[in-house]
């Protein structure tokens, strides 16, 4: 979990609390070295949380100076709380601004958010929040490691939340819908959308809510999109149609272009079409990429 930039937004699914602590320690140690304020958020008493990251060099001094802080999930949210997506982003934007005002180079969070996605209502709101905060992070010096306990949540829940992050551990999400990407694109889509994931794809589009531009075109950065099935394309076309637009998959795969042609899908265009690399250096399948 080292070497991530000031805007990065990572989903990390863990099996043990010790694993989460180790990843969080790496991520936050990097932040301290880069002059960022860091915040560790997890379940437990603040005193115990502060002690959990003693392995980080200079941690105690950072806590004293205010360069590092801890927060208890229970202290911040009531049990089964459904977050207000927009308000949650405002809160972190204010904390980021405050860190900058106090001379830090940004804010970096490592949070165990397991308790915030236990119910369907919670996921609905939190997935929306993840997309909004991702949009904020794309242009502000806020970076986050959002950690989720796989053993408690199960794979299906993990996939729901991992698909809203630009980076996730291997196998956590078949596809991803996130912010950032090429200027002029309403969102970025990557990975594989096929039969196994098309239902979630429909939800993810509605959580992210990318909007058509002034020319009624919903332009998505699809440079990392490996494959999208005919059903995935039909769902996407329908999503855009309901918002009065047509879809442009910028730099999308040739298979998507071919499927739109064969199906005669007038509401979807792949432009430009991404060709396969012919230099012998094949990209790893997107789902296998991790950092």
């Amino acid at each position: 979990m080292r070497g991530l930039g000031v805007h990065d937004h990572v989903c990390w699914c863990f099996d043990t609390r010790a694993e989460f602590r180790a990843r969080a320690a790496e991520f936050l140690a990097d932040g301290l070295r880069a002059g960022q304020r860091v915040l560790y958020i997890a379940g437990g008493e603040p005193g115990a949380l502060a002690a959990e990251l003693r392995q980080v060099r200079g941690w105690d001094d950072a806590l004293t100076s205010g360069a590092a802080g801890v927060a208890s999930v229970e202290g911040t949210y009531t049990a089964r709380a459904v977050v207000d997506p927009a308000q949650q982003v405002v809160t972190y934007a204010q904390l980021t601004e405050q860190a900058l005002a106090e001379g830090f180079r940004g804010l970096r969070l490592a949070a165990d958010a397991t308790s915030l996605v236990r119910t369907a209502d919670q996921v609905e709101a939190f997935a929306r929040y993840e997309h909004l905060v991702d949009s904020y992070m794309a242009s502000a010096p806020l970076s986050a490691l959002c950690a989720y306990d796989r053993t408690e949540l199960g794979q299906a829940r993990i996939e729901q939340i991992a698909c809203m992050h630009p980076i996730a551990n291997s196998g956590a999400a078949a596809f991803r819908v996130h912010a950032g990407g090429r200027p002029g694109c309403a969102a970025t889509v990557s990975g594989n959308v096929d039969a196994a994931s098309v239902k979630l794809w429909t939800h993810a589009l509605r959580w992210a809510r990318p909007r058509p531009d002034s020319d009624d075109r919903l332009v998505l950065d699809a440079a990392g999109l490996e494959f999208i099935s005919h059903r995935g394309l039909l769902e996407l076309a329908e999503y855009a149609r309901q918002r009065g637009g047509s879809v442009v998959l910028h730099d999308g795969p040739s298979s998507a272009a071919r499927l739109t042609e064969v199906l005669g899908l007038s509401g979807v265009r792949v432009d430009p079409v991404r060709r396969r690399p012919r230099d012998g250096l094949r990209r790893a399948p997107d789902s296998e990429r991790t950092r």
Partner: protein, 320 residues
């Protein structure tokens, strides 16, 4: 006129004939076209460049006819069905009382490959049954193989002759058979596959194919194979009986893929030739979509299970 002939009273009259010369071809096709135009029925003709040229010289008013390029139209059986349907539906929607179609499917005798077209000829009797169509399939008797002639005689309810006779065909067998003529084994299948996957997900099958087939075939063919393997693996997992197996053979300019399961294959003998209408899950669309691609698709049902074979790139010599 042949008003007493039972098959001629159906909405769709599917007729075949054999000609031995250009003169006989002319004697059969020209009245078919001219009578149709005189009755206000739009006519669609799908022939190669040479025959299109002859027809334009023979017809009273060639501009009244829709000529479509035979090479393009007859890329695959499923594409020919969709293309013709789009064309005749447009005319019917515009109020035409009926539509006439004539064309020549590929077989060794005209430089093509007949595999898969037996299913096409049989399927038209079912798929187009409700439409007021007359379709005329003329074959060159001097080049058509006995096996193809046999299929033609079993799949057309009406037969015509150059002298103008038309009759109910006693040999007509109206059941479309899945798989149709037994597809010849591909020689490459005798060798060990380049890659073999047990119960792969569609994504795993796509990735394996992309790795094995990269640089073996052109990019467009590889793209079509990737779409096809994805759809057929999904079908095998959802509709077939486990285990599902994918075998890929790759050699320069050619890739052959088998997607197999131990079930008996789709119950619908027309599977792949027409999209399944009104299906809430779009099931049935995947196999149809695969048949629309620029790859050769064969459905092979055997005692050990059901296999969809996809072949892309250079063809093996045609046998029929």
């Amino acid at each position: 006129m042949n008003h007493g002939v039972a098959a001629l009273r159906r909405p769709h009259v599917h007729e075949a004939g054999f000609y031995g010369s250009d003169a006989e071809f002319r004697a059969m096709i020209v009245p078919f076209v001219e009578d149709g135009l005189a009755a206000g029925e739009p006519v669609i003709l799908g022939y190669d460049e040479r025959k299109t040229g002859l027809l334009q010289g023979w017809l009273h008013d060639p501009s009244a006819v829709t000529f479509v390029s035979g090479d393009e139209l007859y890329g695959t059986p499923a594409r020919a069905i969709s293309s013709y349907e789009r064309l005749f539906q447009r005319h019917l929607d515009a109020g035409a009382p009926g539509v006439r179609l004539a064309g020549e499917v590929p077989h060794v005798g005209n430089g093509g490959r007949f595999e898969g077209w037996d299913r096409y000829e049989a399927a038209l009797n079912v798929l187009w049954a409700p439409y007021p169509l007359r379709s005329l399939c003329l074959y060159d008797a001097t080049t058509v193989s006995p096996a193809v002639r046999d299929v033609v005689e079993r799949t057309h309810p009406v037969l015509g002759t150059p002298s103008g006779d038309r009759r109910d065909n006693d040999r007509y067998d109206g059941t479309p058979v899945l798989g149709g003529l037994a597809s010849a084994p591909d020689p490459i299948e005798a060798s060990a596959p380049t890659a073999e996957l047990k119960n792969p997900t569609p994504a795993e099958a796509r990735h394996a194919l992309e790795q094995v087939a990269d640089r073996r075939v052109d990019e467009q063919t590889l793209t079509d194979l990737v779409i096809g393997v994805s759809e057929t693996v999904l079908n095998a997992r959802v509709h077939g009986r486990a285990p599902a197996t994918v075998r890929i053979w790759a050699e320069p300019e050619r890739v052959v893929v088998h997607v197999s399961d131990s079930g008996s294959g789709p119950a619908d003998p027309l599977a792949g030739l027409a999209p399944v209408a009104n299906s809430p899950t779009n099931s049935g669309l995947g196999l149809w979509l695969t048949h629309q691609l620029d790859v050769e698709v064969a459905l092979l049902a055997g005692p050990d299970g059901f296999t969809v074979r996809l072949r892309g790139g250079r063809s093996t010599p045609a046998l029929l």
